[in-house]
């Protein structure tokens, strides 16, 4: 498949770019932060996001999706990254939607996907338990009871936890931390007895939270997919999520780089634009090349996801690792080239930088994916 957007995808990109640049920009995020918004996103803009169809990217057409697939999600994510758009889109419309779409029974899909696409339900995946992504290391446990299961344990770094209506919680039904087998996905409703949801205020001023499960009782209907065998399909959804978050990192890098280039052209020192300094030019040109490489690895991985290619895992780790490295460089170069202005809260660079580090950490940072790549490639 050609590594370019087709006409439909290009239209989607333009539409997302236009919508987000008007409704969900860095300025909007700043306002949400400064007002200490309780929800962390604008409900009207979220409703419009759904109306525009952006919430329907990865869902099968039979359940209200629009069939753009992961390439579509990646295109939207890049624009979200450029604007630092605050919304539960990634958690609910991409990650949770794909997990349900690929793992749930028809009945469950029928019940769950419609409200996700409509944006009326916000569903989020709770997988990590500590500072580092480690799906095999999950130790939250689900104990078999007469009528179903009781869940115990902690989940941290859960996107949009405090605004979600439902949770996809990965817990251990057998085995112990480090085993790939023995993992099962449970659907928990907000407000279930024993489920405590705490908001975390993170550096990116976006929505995050922790779940504490002190014996949350559920019936077997709450299981998505099959018992003990969640790892493989979960990791596939995670791979897609990793590439989409890489696309967000690409958007962040591109926007941050564009702001920096504009600054280099405008800002004068010693009587000339600082963009005339060759040392800065070469660093900018190198960074530009790096961003182009990240772009290519992402579109390749997105296409592999839609083609259900066996190479997805490797390509996803390449894309996420490269995007992490590039976003770190792009944001660090930005603050250095902006100088003192880049250190102030009124400049957007700080926002890009903070969101970038969060997105880098989500579902595996550079080191996680470089190590995973080496394992997958057998060295």
């Amino acid at each position: 498949m050609a590594l370019v957007l087709n006409e439909e995808q290009q239209l989607l990109k333009d539409s997302a770019a236009g919508f987000l640049a008007e409704k969900a920009t860095v300025e909007h995020l700043r306002a949400l932060r400064d007002s200490r918004s309780e929800t962390g996103y604008d409900a009207d803009v979220w409703a419009e996001t759904a109306e525009m169809g952006f919430t329907a990217m990865v869902v099968d057409e039979a359940y209200g999706g629009v069939g753009f697939g992961m390439v579509g999600a990646g295109v939207v994510a890049e624009e979200m990254g450029k604007n630092l758009s605050a919304s539960p889109w990634f958690a609910s419309s991409v990650v949770a939607a794909d997990l349900i779409n690929s793992m749930a029974s028809d009945t469950q899909k029928e019940a769950l996907l419609g409200p996700i696409v409509e944006g009326s339900n916000i569903v989020t995946l709770a997988v990590d338990e500590g500072g580092h992504h480690d799906p095999e290391g999950i130790s939250a446990r689900a104990e078999k009871t007469d009528g179903g299961y009781k869940l115990y344990g902690l989940k941290s770094f859960v996107p949009d936890a405090h605004v979600a209506t439902q949770y996809l919680v990965v817990a251990r039904t057998s085995g112990s931390a480090g085993d790939k087998s023995g993992l099962t996905v449970f659907l928990l409703d907000r407000g279930t007895q024993g489920l405590i949801v705490d908001q975390s205020i993170m550096a990116d001023s976006r929505n995050w939270g922790r779940l504490t499960m002190e014996g949350v009782a559920v019936t077997s209907d709450a299981i998505i997919g099959s018992v003990d065998d969640a790892f493989t399909p979960l990791d596939k959804t995670l791979d897609k999520a990793r590439v989409v978050i890489a696309a967000e990192l690409l958007g962040i890098s591109r926007a941050c780089f564009a702001d920096t280039m504009e600054y280099l052209k405008d800002r004068k020192q010693f009587g000339v634009a600082i963009g005339t300094f060759q040392a800065l030019q070469h660093r900018a040109a190198h960074l530009f090349s790096d961003i182009e490489l990240a772009h290519s690895s992402i579109i390749k991985a997105l296409q592999a996801a839609d083609a259900d290619s066996p190479a997805l895992a490797t390509l996803a780790s390449v894309a996420k690792a490269k995007a992490c490295q590039v976003a770190e460089l792009a944001t660090n170069e930005a603050v250095q080239m902006f100088g003192g202005i880049g250190m102030t809260d009124e400049c957007n660079v700080g926002f890009y930088m903070k969101r970038a580090r969060i997105a880098q950490a989500l579902y595996g940072d550079y080191n996680f994916h470089a190590g995973r790549y080496a394992d997958l490639r057998g060295f």
């Binding site: 500590g130 580092h132 205020i201 993170m202 020192q269 003192g340 250190m343």
Partner: protein
């Protein structure tokens, strides 16, 4: 027993008897330090006592002459004092831009009268100083400053604006670069003034940073009258004084973080998953090793530069190397700390993370390679002054 050995023993005994127990632990942050000044509220009686006791011996400024209240120690004695303080983890009794920046410049360039007037108050921590160098839009091109000081006979009339004034809202006095001659060449029309921040026409406005903190201010000067006697040295020579002062500032910044209590490797072993006595992430382990190898080499270089300076020859351009490398390493350390902590390190508020200590420190370090002359300026200095590469 050698004189130095005697000095060491006496110093050790004095510190043992005079440093309060609560002053024998690292400070918890800039807020926990003693800054002195007219309006300073001591965090504890011990903090006040420790400052007074050290200041009474002039040991807040060990090598300054006793004539100005300093300790009058030679370099070896000062090193011994430092070592002995380190042994009992004694805190620095006084954090002060007067000591680290203004003082050395006054000692070198100011009139005897001026030294008598300002230095003792710096030693005692009675006056807190701030630095009025940068201006909006100037950035690395410091000498392009536009703040105007008109000669009005017995005083200068100062109008203009400064930016990045550290703690201007808490300082008592400012040392300030102004332009007294708009016709002279860029570097020649600059003068160096001292004035009270309480003077009529001075106002400050804190700048909110990406770390969420506001240690810097914008400082506005609107028809501020500064008596002629508060001019340092000669009019038009301010750039010379300012550069000398900057060398000391560079040294100070390059050492930021070099007193870090724990190495990244140690912290990682406490916070990160491990396996058989090694960090479980082998790539992180390699990154930390690379950082610490550079850091150990850097610390050895700081030591070597001091030893070479002691053996004759000044700090000179070496300070640019230290400033450049030290600040880049400090940023690198902070990026590594994010990797070590993962998402936990990115929390911004909440007890769990000490209100975002790791994340805010990380963002703070980004300024290290900008303040006191950017990394790019240091590289320019190295390539021209040390390597002798030609200008275009």
């Amino acid at each position: 027993m050698s004189d130095h050995e005697t000095f060491r023993q006496e110093t050790r005994a004095w510190l043992e008897g005079n440093c309060p127990q609560s002053m024998r632990s690292p400070i918890l942050g800039e807020d926990d330090a003693c800054w002195g000044g007219r309006g300073f509220v001591f965090k504890s009686d011990d903090q006040k006592l420790w400052l007074e006791r050290m200041a009474s011996r002039g040991w807040t400024t060990p090598t300054w002459p006793t004539a100005y209240g300093g300790g009058g120690l030679n370099k070896t004695e000062a090193k011994i004092l430092k070592e002995e303080m380190r042994k009992i983890k004694a805190r620095n009794p006084l954090n002060s831009f007067g000591i680290s920046m203004l003082g050395p410049m006054l000692l070198k360039y100011a009139s005897e009268e001026m030294k008598q007037q300002y230095l003792p108050d710096i030693v005692q921590g009675k006056i807190r100083w701030c630095q009025g160098y940068s201006e909006p839009g100037a950035g690395s091109d410091l000498a392009s400053l536009q703040t105007k000081a008109e000669d009005k006979g017995d005083h200068y009339l100062v109008n203009g604006q400064k930016v990045w004034t550290s703690y201007a809202d808490k300082a008592d006095w400012i040392f300030c670069l102004v332009r007294t001659d708009f016709d002279a060449a860029k570097h020649l029309g600059i003068s160096f003034l001292l004035f009270d921040m309480a003077s009529e026409g001075v106002s400050t406005k804190p700048i909110k940073l990406i770390s969420g903190n506001s240690p810097f201010c914008e400082t506005f000067m609107d028809d501020v009258k500064v008596p002629k006697g508060q001019l340092v040295g000669e009019a038009g020579q301010g750039w010379t004084y300012a550069k000398y002062l900057l060398t000391h500032e560079r040294e100070m910044i390059s050492e930021m973080g070099s007193g870090a209590a724990k190495s990244v490797g140690e912290i990682a072993m406490e916070l990160s998953p491990t396996s058989e006595g090694r960090l479980r992430d082998p790539i992180l382990r390699g990154q930390i090793a690379a950082h610490e190898i550079d850091y150990a080499s850097f610390v050895a270089t700081v030591e070597r530069v001091r030893d070479e300076a002691k053996a004759g020859g000044g700090v000179g351009a070496a300070s640019s190397t230290l400033k450049y490398y030290g600040t880049e390493l400090n940023k690198d350390r902070s990026e590594l700390m994010l990797k070590v902590g993962g998402s936990d390190a990115l929390e911004w508020e909440g007890q769990y993370s000490g209100e975002g200590k790791v994340a805010r420190t990380w963002l703070r370090t980004k300024a290290n390679s900008i303040e006191g002359g950017t990394s790019e300026v240091q590289l320019n200095i190295i390539s021209k002054r040390i390597l002798g590469l030609p200008s275009s």
